[in-house]
């Protein structure tokens, strides 16, 4: 039941806001729908906590297990906080005349739909529907990326659309191959694409086909995860879109795409009988992403682009950890997914207000935030420190596990990881520090910034660094087992 609420609410919200999205209180409606979705998600979560993995819907259209339940909760939560943040943010944007009523309507409507598609992708049990939802997620965001209609925004959106479109198309081919392989075992019909069925028979699936299928799926969904060298769209899209969208893209969409990859990885591993082909591929992509992203962070002048690259870096780290497999690594990867999306979205909130203050995203022109808006300044620097993996924040917890595990599973990889982390630290902190500290020329903000989400997120991340609640740890462990622990 709550399942339908979970998916229906964003849809309803999208439709409502498609008509009312330009009204004065549209942001509140937006937040209200997100809140309702969050409640539905909480309801579902409670349900799962009570009963464990469930198949929902006619012939098992939806499947909720330990792996996606926390992602659902996370997605709904971040979606809600982002809605809260976007309330004043978009008001100020409108005041600055960067968006007009029509675009605001578009923004609000597609925001809700976007959340809906992500929730669909997370909850569906059907690999085909998963694909559809991923594609829909692209389509709903592409116009948001180009919301400001600036040449740069258009260019970013175009690249986003084409690259992700192509990637997704390849993923579809992978899905077809998957279906093709499943059909041999399960026979034609809907069952052949439902993940639970596939998971049940995964050992009997044809390895050769699954290998190819996985390649297509990895390249396809990997494009959306932003794995180097498929990442090219990501910094542009994050840099040019409105900040709330950057926040949800970084914080949520990448997770969902990675989720899709992992679902397929489980099947492939089963088919290949534990042969670690998929793992090896993911480790390769992960390392490459971490390294290249870290190096590219050093070149950034635009604050949002910089944090976009940091997202690539962290996604690479997670992919690497998943690729390594094993209980601890998978646990760490899941934890890292959580803390990364919390931290990164928090950072984007702070950055959003900072850029609004400065009227630019160029870092040289943002100085001494701590003078006029201490809260923004502290939010930004604490968030940066957290994302850079400094304890006691949660990001460190996962990096601790990942690095220690790497050290005794693949010692050769540690130098690469550490070089990357070191370079990223030097580059990012060296750029953020002068933004926060020092003298300033920036004016105060006309509206009161919404910084509650920033500190709520950071508080959660801090908590996860020091204490992981039992049921969460329990999910992580279950999911880790599921993902080949």
């Amino acid at each position: 039941m709550e399942m339908y609420w979970l998916l229906g609410l964003p849809l309803a919200g999208g439709i409502t806001l498609a008509f009312w999205g330009h009204r004065a209180h549209a942001p509140e409606i937006n937040a209200a729908f997100s809140l309702a979705t969050l409640i539905a998600a909480g309801w579902l979560t409670a349900h799962i906590v009570a009963e464990g993995p469930v198949l929902i819907g006619g012939d098992g259209w939806f499947y909720i297990d330990a792996f996606n339940v926390f992602l659902v909760a996370l997605t709904a939560f971040v979606a809600f906080t982002t809605a809260l943040f976007s309330r004043p943010y978009m008001r100020i944007e409108q005041a600055h005349g960067r968006v007009n009523a029509a675009r605001l309507r578009l923004y609000h409507a597609s925001y809700q739909l976007f959340i809906g598609t992500m929730l669909l992708a997370l909850t569906t049990n059907n690999m085909g529907i998963l694909w559809v939802a991923m594609e829909a997620a692209t389509l709903t965001t592409v116009l948001l990326v180009s919301l400001y209609r600036t040449p740069a925004a258009l260019e970013a959106a175009w690249k986003y659309f084409i690259l992700c479109g192509v990637g997704i198309a390849l993923a579809l081919f992978g899905t077809i191959l998957l279906y093709f392989a499943a059909e041999q075992v399960l026979g034609a019909g809907g069952g052949a694409l439902s993940w639970t069925h596939l998971n049940a028979v995964k050992t009997r699936l044809e390895p050769v086909v699954l290998q190819l299928a996985f390649v297509f799926l990895l390249v396809g969904y990997g494009t959306k995860v932003g794995l180097v060298p498929l990442h090219s769209w990501l910094p542009d899209a994050h840099g040019e879109g409105p900040t709330p969208i950057s926040a949800v893209l970084s914080g949520l969409l990448l997770n969902v795409a990675l989720y899709a990859v992992m679902r397929s990885k489980v099947l492939v591993d089963g088919a290949l009988g534990g042969a670690s082909l998929a793992g090896a591929l993911m480790m390769g992509f992960g390392l490459l992403s971490v390294l290249v992203a870290a190096l590219l962070i050093r070149r950034q002048t635009d604050v949002k682009r910089m944090f976009a690259y940091s997202s690539i870096e962290h996604m690479g780290l997670i992919t690497f950890a998943f690729g390594m497999g094993g209980m601890v690594a998978s646990f760490a990867a899941l934890l890292h997914m959580t803390v990364h999306s919390l931290t990164k979205s928090a950072i984007f909130y702070a950055v959003g207000h900072a850029t609004q203050k400065a009227g630019t995203q160029v870092m040289e022109d943002i100085r001494g935030l701590i003078k006029t808006n201490p809260t923004i300044g502290w939010g930004l620097i604490l968030g940066t420190i957290a994302i850079l993996g400094v304890p006691p924040f949660g990001v460190f917890a996962s990096e601790f596990l990942i690095i220690t595990t790497t050290m005794h599973q693949h010692p050769w990889a540690t130098p690469v990881l550490l070089t990357a982390l070191g370079v990223a630290f030097a580059a990012m902190f060296g750029r953020v520090q002068p933004m926060v500290f020092g003298e300033t020329t920036l004016p105060r903000l006309p509206h009161q910034p919404a910084l509650l989400p920033v500190f709520v997120h950071l508080a959660l991340v801090l908590m996860l660094g020091l204490f992981i609640p039992g049921y969460l740890a329990h999910w992580y462990r279950q999911a880790a087992c599921l993902l080949g622990g």
């Binding site: 175009w158 690249k159 084409i162 690259l163 192509v166 990637g167 390849l170 050769v208 290998q211 190819l212 996985f214 390649v215 990895l218 390249v219 060298p229 498929l230 090219s232 769209w233 910094p235 591929l281 290249v292 190096l295 590219l296 050093r298 070149r299 094993g326 209980m327 601890v328 701590i370 850079l388 400094v390 304890p391 006691p392 460190f396 917890a397 601790f400 596990l401 690095i403 220690t404 595990t405 050290m407 005794h408 540690t414 550490l418 982390l421 070191g422 370079v423 630290f425 030097a426 902190f429 060296g430 520090q433 500290f437 020092g438 003298e439 660094g465 020091l466 204490f467 992981i468 740890a473």
Partner: protein, 670 residues
């Protein structure tokens, strides 16, 4: 319900400090409350910590597990003799510095003061937690909390670009070091690395690594802790960060934080890994000597007083690390008693340095407040305007210069005894090389005396080099009180070595299963045997002071005490001018000439016909040139290469995807 152990109390103090941090955040508007309530309460905590540490020396190790941390790897805490000793160090130094802070932050606005007090108490809590942590995760968390808090303390005055740069450099190197430690722990896991529980120190103690991995661990740990301690060539942050921080913070960082690195070294190499081979000791010894010499040479050519002290901290850390290396050598060679002697010297020096370096740093803080000047070239003659500060600083300076009968001398004396007793090592090379190493130690010590004469003479003696110095005012009473306390500590530690060695014995025994035989009595310390060597500071002091007074009054009595005041004679040169005295650069000139190979000297010297003659001399650290700039350049080059990937044409991006796809397809179907 088990009875509360010392550890419980120590943990309670940590929580109490965290609470104070939170409280100071709540007191954003009342500067008075923060200064007169929060800081004193913090001092109480520090004192309690010192007491707990002292009690812990005698009692058996206690440990417990907190319900926080990672699942399967909750925070383990442990309080044993070693932690106890460093807790004493932390408690004593931080209570002294805390008293000072009350007065020092007199003029600070409420908001910044609240933030400062927040980080200050987090800093204390972090350091205490480092000493208590008993698993890799808790240790790393505490370690980085310490680094983070100190970073924010360093950048308190973030308006100044140099300070921001210093803070950045500090945090960066601290982070790199932390990563090395992380790796060290990654190698140093328990028997079953697939489980998180393998990263508790107990598991590490039980697990014995094969020599290769053990060495890797040791080197990583040396790197990581060396980065925090300021081991050459990882020292570059220290001369930047210490001057940047407010003086009490510099005192804490230099006096206590550097010691946590020493604690870590001892803990990892002697407790967790165990059975260190001799060559580790050789590595540590040589690095330590290089560091000591390097630090003192650069200290001698500094012209900024806090920077000078920072370099002298590097020197002292060098001493300690050298002692550490010698300990390992003796330990590996089965010379238990000698190892015990060296370790005692190490711990003793750590405590001494905590005291006199804190004293000197807070003293410079008072000078800074009184004159607003850090460049020694603008100071001078302050002994006439701030006698308290000056005379107490004199004690500190004599102590750090390693002069009897103060504490600095005792530890150096013990260390030298250890060096002199090396003959009998099974390794002939070490036999012959180590005495020469002793000579290096002596050279560094003598240079330290040079540095301190320069430091004290240029700041406090002579003529004021600047007219407005005549308005310099004496420090307030909290400052004086704290300096008095620290100076008293220096004197006492100098006078009762025998008792101190007795107190240190449990620590030594815990690490080496061997105590230092002291053949002396309450008056006289005689390590190993009175036949070999002995030193009785009390007699020493008694005789010297007795003779001084005797002669003083004797001369007065036999002849007369008449004194005429006149202008300085100065060989008859009529107009004496403050600018004729040696400037700081001038005093450093011989060192610069002799050791020019170590440094890159940049000088602007006037030619005889200049209307306004300008002189500027600056001696830079060559490590920047040789190590750090190349690394930075390499990173820049790499990222420039990487950024060519991202050059805007969507066709190229499509080609990337295409190539990846094809490559992978070929890869899997090969």
């Amino acid at each position: 319900m088990p009875e509360t152990t010392l550890l419980d109390w120590a943990w309670a103090v940590v929580l109490y400090w965290l609470g104070l941090a939170a409280a100071s955040l709540a007191l954003q508007t009342q500067a008075g409350l923060t200064r007169w309530v929060v800081f004193p309460l913090g001092i109480l905590g520090a004192a309690a910590m010192a007491v707990l540490g002292a009690l812990a020396l005698a009692s058996p190790p206690t440990q417990f597990i907190l319900p926080i941390g990672l699942p399967e790897l909750p925070f383990h805490l442990r309080l044993d003799a070693l932690s106890g000793f460093f807790l004493i160090l932390l408690g004593v130094a931080s209570s002294g510095v805390g008293i000072y802070a009350i007065g020092y932050f007199r003029h600070m606005a409420a908001g910044p003061l609240a933030v400062l007090s927040l980080w200050y108490h987090l800093f204390l809590a972090g350091m205490a937690l480092v000493l208590l942590a008993d698993d890799a995760y808790a240790f790393m968390v505490a370690w980085e909390l310490m680094a983070l808090a100190s970073y924010f303390l360093v950048t308190t005055d973030h308006k100044i670009p140099d300070i921001r740069r210093a803070g950045f450099l500090y945090l960066l190197i601290a982070h790199v070091g932390a990563v090395a430690l992380l790796l060290a722990f990654g190698v140093l896991h328990g028997s079953d690395p697939a489980r998180m529980a393998a990263y508790s120190f107990d598991a590490m103690r039980e697990n014995t690594l094969n020599p290769a991995w053990a060495s890797v661990t040791f080197l990583l740990a040396l790197f990581g802790f060396g980065a925090k301690a300021g081991l050459v060539p990882l020292h570059v942050w220290l001369p930047e960060a210490h001057p940047a921080a407010p003086s009490p913070v510099s005192a804490l960082m230099s006096g206590v934080m550097l010691k946590t690195a020493i604690y870590g070294l001892l803990r990892v190499s002697l407790d967790l890994i165990g059975a260190p081979p001799a060559w580790w000791g050789t590595v540590a010894l040589s690095l330590g000597l290089v560091t000591a010499l390097y630090g003192v040479i650069f200290a001698a050519v500094q012209s900024d007083m806090k920077r000078l002290l920072a370099w002298s901290s590097i020197e002292n850390i060098g001493f300690i690390i050298a002692a550490f290396g010698l300990t390992l050598i003796f330990h590996a060679d089965g010379k238990g008693a000698l190892a015990a002697l060296t370790l005692t010297a190490l711990l003793y020096h750590a405590l001494n340095h905590a005291l006199f370096k804190s004293l000197l740093f807070v003293g410079t803080g008072s000078v800074l407040h009184a004159t607003g000047e850090r460049r020694m070239g603008r100071l001078g003659g302050l002994i006439r305007f701030m006698p308290w500060t000056a005379w107490l600083m004199l004690l500190g300076a004599l102590a750090i210069a390693g002069l009897p009968p103060l504490n600095g001398f005792v530890s150096e004396w013990l260390l030298l005894q250890a060096f002199l007793l090396t003959p009998g090592l099974t390794q002939p090379y070490l036999n012959m090389a180590i005495p020469v190493a002793a000579a290096v130690v002596v050279l560094a010590a003598a240079l330290a005396a040079y540095v301190m004469v320069k430091f004290y003479g240029v700041i406090f003696l002579g003529q004021p080099r600047d007219p407005e110095l005549n308005e310099a005012h004496e420090a307030g009473w909290p400052e004086r009180l704290s300096m008095l306390g620290l100076a008293a500590g220096c004197v006492v530690l100098g006078l009762v070595p025998s008792q101190m060695i007795g107190w240190l014995n449990p620590v030594v025994e815990a690490l080496l299963q061997q105590t230092l035989p002291n053949d002396g009595n309450w008056l006289m310390v005689a390590p190993l045997s009175a036949q070999r060597a002995s030193y009785a500071p009390l007699v020493f002091l008694a005789v010297v002071s007795a003779i001084t007074l005797l002669v003083f009054f004797g001369v007065k009595y036999v002849y007369h005490g008449r004194v005429r005041r006149a202008a300085p004679w100065d060989c008859g040169y009529p107009e004496l001018d403050a600018r004729m005295q040696d400037s700081a650069e001038g005093f450093g000139q011989p060192i610069r000439l002799i050791f020019s190979a170590f440094m890159r000297v940049e000088r602007i010297t006037p030619d005889p016909f200049d209307r306004q003659p300008q002189y500027r001399g600056d001696s830079r650290d060559k490590v920047w040139l040789w190590l750090y700039q190349p690394i930075a350049a390499a990173a820049a080059w790499l990222s420039a290469q990487a950024s060519r990937l991202q050059h805007g044409r969507i066709q190229w991006y499509l080609i990337y995807s295409f190539a990846t796809l094809i490559f992978l397809l070929v890869f899997v179907t090969r």
